[in-house]
């Protein structure tokens, strides 16, 4: 029975061959392509110099899924919600929860290296990816990595393509590691004190304590309010594992603070909160830096600005909602983005297109990155401009 499942059962309308011919045609006419998955949430206002779009949205479906192997090979256009549905039937999951909606594709998630709250315990896309197939800028089909959980054969092209935003090749197939769904998966909030001092006095020792949540986010009062979690900043936690481990952690947390259980669907609500916003900035740093400054960043925020902090991973997300609707908030986007230090640790995820070019520096300007780009996309036809190049 397992053997049968190995047979490719992808049923999309696009194939690797179609991607090859689209790229070859673009190469011969030197007309650049914008590479898109389902165009749902990853576009982010980045400037791309292209007049045609190559969409992978119809190239979807499972290629190989043998549940006992805890690996899954799918076409790149497969949506995260489809992966969720297919794996849930076998009580498994792909613990990859990038900000945005589950309508987005796995190909785009890998191409943009997008991650979410679960990253602090399950890792980034680079950690869950086992292998991929892509088509480079010359229209050649290339495979990196493999389909098994451990593999060091050859140079690591799958890590190279992760986060390359389509500029080194169009990802057509992806193999990822799966996990069995935990026996227990429960979420809780702790409401933080309204004043910074009190809040910090709680947070510092709390965050240093030895819990091992699946996810822990500190949400600004504005974000908590948007999620219907009250009017104060909160600590939102997700514990998973066997029932005994989850109960033990919950007991330990309860001894320190008042906790209230919430639906686990709150995480999906959090991830989609920023959809439609005009500005998302990710500031990364050492976990300790966030432990000590977190309270001040969560308290007073101008309206329309949301903050979430993942102190274990060392990431702050700063979201400015709907800047295009209000001139005032557009000003604030520009203010915030130009106030950010010109630091490799500040990553712009979404910006209004006209602001983008002014604040976002090229992240592939170093000679190694330029050399790789030139080798893989010699005609400069894959998403040119998307990385500020």
């Amino acid at each position: 029975m397992a053997r049968r499942a190995r047979r490719p059962i992808a049923d999309g309308h696009v194939s690797t061959a179609a991607v090859v011919s689209a790229i070859k045609e673009s190469g011969s006419t030197r007309s650049p392509l914008r590479i898109a998955g389902r165009s749902t949430w990853l576009d982010a206002g980045r400037p791309v110099r292209a007049n045609k779009t190559l969409s992978l949205r119809d190239d979807s479906g499972v290629v190989i899924y043998v549940p006992g192997d805890l690996t899954l090979t799918v076409r790149a256009g497969t949506s995260l919600s489809e992966i969720e549905r297919v794996t849930r039937e076998h009580d498994q999951w792909l613990p990859l929860d990038p900000y945005g909606s589950n309508d987005g594709t796995i190909g785009a998630t890998i191409a943009t290296a997008s991650a979410g709250p679960l990253a602090s315990s399950f890792g980034l896309p680079r950690d869950l990816l086992l292998g991929l197939e892509f088509v480079n800028g010359r229209g050649e089909v290339v495979r990196g990595g493999g389909k098994v959980v451990k593999n060091v054969a050859g140079f690591d092209l799958s890590r190279l393509l992760t986060g390359s935003w389509g500029t080194l090749g169009v990802i057509t197939e992806v193999t990822v590691r799966l996990y069995a769904r935990p026996q227990a998966d429960r979420s809780f909030v702790i409401r933080l004190a309204a004043n910074e001092k009190e809040s910090n006095a709680f947070l510092r020792p709390f965050l240093a304590a030895s819990f091992s949540p699946y996810a822990l986010e500190l949400l600004s009062a504005s974000a908590a309010f948007a999620l219907g979690l009250g009017e104060r900043a909160v600590c939102l936690m997700r514990f998973g594992g066997n029932t005994a481990a989850v109960d033990a952690q919950l007991n330990a947390v309860s001894r320190i603070a008042g906790v209230e259980e919430v639906e686990t669907s709150v995480w999906e609500a959090l991830r989609t909160l920023e959809m439609g916003s005009g500005c998302v900035i990710r500031v990364t740093g050492l976990p300790g830096e966030f432990r000590s400054v977190s309270a001040s960043m969560l308290m007073e925020q101008p309206s329309g600005i949301l903050n979430y902090i993942d102190p274990a991973r060392g990431v702050l997300r700063l979201v400015v909602q709907a800047p295009n609707e209000h001139e005032e908030s557009k000003e604030s986007v520009f203010g915030i983005s130009t106030d950010m230090p010109p630091d490799e640790r500040v990553v712009y995820e979404t910006l209004p297109a006209d602001v983008w070019s002014e604040v976002s520096p090229s992240v592939v300007a170093d000679p190694l990155s330029r050399g790789i780009r030139k080798a893989y996309d010699p005609h400069d036809i894959l998403n040119p401009g998307i990385l500020g190049d």
């Binding site: 451990k150 050859g154 140079f155 594992g241 989850v246 790789i372």
Partner: protein, 476 residues
């Protein structure tokens, strides 16, 4: 050789850190896989970061190829230098910084895994990747090979634990890859460098993530009267959703070799297979998993399931596993070890195939491996001096590898391609995939002077067909 290269290297590192007499170089003519021998021309051992950069720059100026080498414990012939320069990095062994609050450390490439772990242990921390050679192998070598180890089942391989590196490229240019202080956007050059087997340059320092020591650790030994039962139990544990910290498999021949050696761990000599299973995490969670795993083992036909009572007993059980390859030395002078990875549900049938292949060629294949990952290490002790035996061994190994490839597996899970598995690269990668690897390498090392002739067969590289091979040798 152009006159005076040894002298000029000696000016950088001091005379006693350059070896050029063939007798002195003997120890560098093999690595952990003694079936391969290559005689280096020179070996140079820089003692500082500055000396390392100066050595690489001198070799760049002279257009000379070189092979970086850590502790030489690799199992793929990757650190062998065929009549060229070895740059040994074992003197670069400073732990440069330890940041307990942020759980990270920066080390020089010659720091030995176990030493890093001893250094961070008092702070309740550990560095997860634990190759069986952890008492000798270096973090720099781990980075080159993307090394694994038993505990990679739960915690991932080197790739998942390295945050940043300072690298000297073969040109002598120094670059930072990754970020010590956050997450960086742009191409994952750190990811590309890890596992590049010394072909992209040398790491001068490496910043690694450390983990908090788990609250509880339990180690179980389950023994079986058939290999097949143990293989099915492995699949059942993985499918149950429990992620053990390690799940190791040893078959009967391996058990008996270990028990006859100084590493005897008290494994039952009459068993046909044992599973060594470690569970870790929060006390409450581990106890529940322990019961579940014990039940799966007994339901799957285990004769006994023994739980180590204390750390001493745990260490003893692990000692037998980690020293198993060493114990094989009792059987014959040479050892051939494979490192294929197969989909985990294929374990029972591939083990049966391996046994049949061994019988067909009249060789005893020992199996000691990371069962939870499907990472096999079939190995055969033999004498390379007996041509007839060598031929049978190599034929058996080729057939075993083919069976693993046919099952959808990989040719190497943690040992690297090196020299040993280069011949298999074309059976798992297409011409265009191999060419893409060559192109990536060409960006880091356009003259392919760093560890030449490894990993990707040169004829697979389109652009390089015309490169004169003579340049790779150092002519006198």
């Amino acid at each position: 050789m152009r006159s005076g290269i040894a002298e000029r290297l000696a000016e950088i590192v001091g005379e006693r850190h350059v070896l050029s007499r063939p007798s002195e170089l003997l120890v560098y003519n093999s690595d952990g896989l003694p079936g391969y021998r290559r005689q280096p021309r020179l070996a140079v051992f820089p003692g500082t970061r500055e000396e390392t950069i100066a050595v690489v720059r001198l070799l760049a100026d002279e257009g000379l190829p070189f092979v970086p080498r850590g502790a030489g414990t690799g199992l793929s012939g990757g650190a062998l230098a065929d009549d060229i320069v070895v740059i040994g990095l074992h003197r670069l062994k400073k732990i440069l910084s330890l940041d307990v609050a942020n759980r990270r450390a920066t080390v020089e490439p010659g720091v030995v895994n176990l030493r890093l772990n001893k250094h961070v242990a008092p702070h309740g921390l550990l560095y997860a990747p634990d190759p069986s050679s952890e008492a000798a192998c270096t973090i720099g070598g781990n980075v080159a090979e993307n090394a694994g180890g038993p505990h990679c089942l739960k915690y991932g391989v080197t790739l998942n634990h390295v945050l940043a590196m300072t690298v000297v490229l073969p040109s002598g240019e120094v670059v930072e890859l990754g970020s010590k202080v956050g997450e960086r956007d742009g191409y994952d050059l750190r990811g590309a460098f890890i596992g590049s087997e010394g072909c992209f340059g040398l790491a001068l320092d490496i910043t690694v993530k450390l983990m908090t020591k788990p609250q509880a650790v339990r180690t179980l030994l389950a023994d079986f009267t058939s290999v097949d039962q143990a293989a099915h139990v492995t699949s059942a544990i993985i499918a149950s959703g429990i992620v053990p910290a390690a799940l190791e498999f040893m078959d009967g021949p391996t058990i008996r070799v270990v028990e006859d050696s100084i590493y005897a761990a008290g494994y039952p000599r009459d068993a046909e297979a044992i599973l060594l299973i470690e569970l870790d995490g929060l006390e409450a969670g581990v106890s529940a998993d322990l019961e579940a795993v014990r039940r799966i083992c007994l339901d799957g036909g285990a004769r006994n399931v023994k739980v180590a009572r204390d750390d001493a007993e745990r260490m003893k059980l692990w000692q037998g596993r980690k020293k198993a390859f060493g114990a094989m030395g009792r059987l014959a002078p040479h050892l051939i070890v494979q490192d294929a990875v197969i989909p985990r549900t294929r374990l029972p049938d591939i083990l049966a195939t391996i046994r049949a292949i061994g019988e067909k060629y009249g060789v005893v294949v020992c199996n000691v491996f990371h069962a939870g990952d499907g990472n096999l290490h079939p190995n055969i002790a033999y004498s390379a001096d007996d041509p007839a035996e060598s031929e049978r061994v190599h034929k058996a190994m080729t057939e075993i590898m083919q069976a693993c490839i046919d099952a959808g597996g990989s040719i190497t899970g943690e040992h690297g391609v090196g020299l040993d598995k280069m011949g298999y690269m074309e059976s798992i990668f297409s011409e265009s995939s191999l060419n893409a690897m060559c192109e990536l390498r060409a960006v880091f090392d356009p003259e392919r002077r760093s560890n030449p002739g490894k990993v990707v067969p040169v004829h697979a590289c389109k652009e390089w067909h015309a490169v004169p091979g003579g340049r790779l040798r150092m002519d006198t």
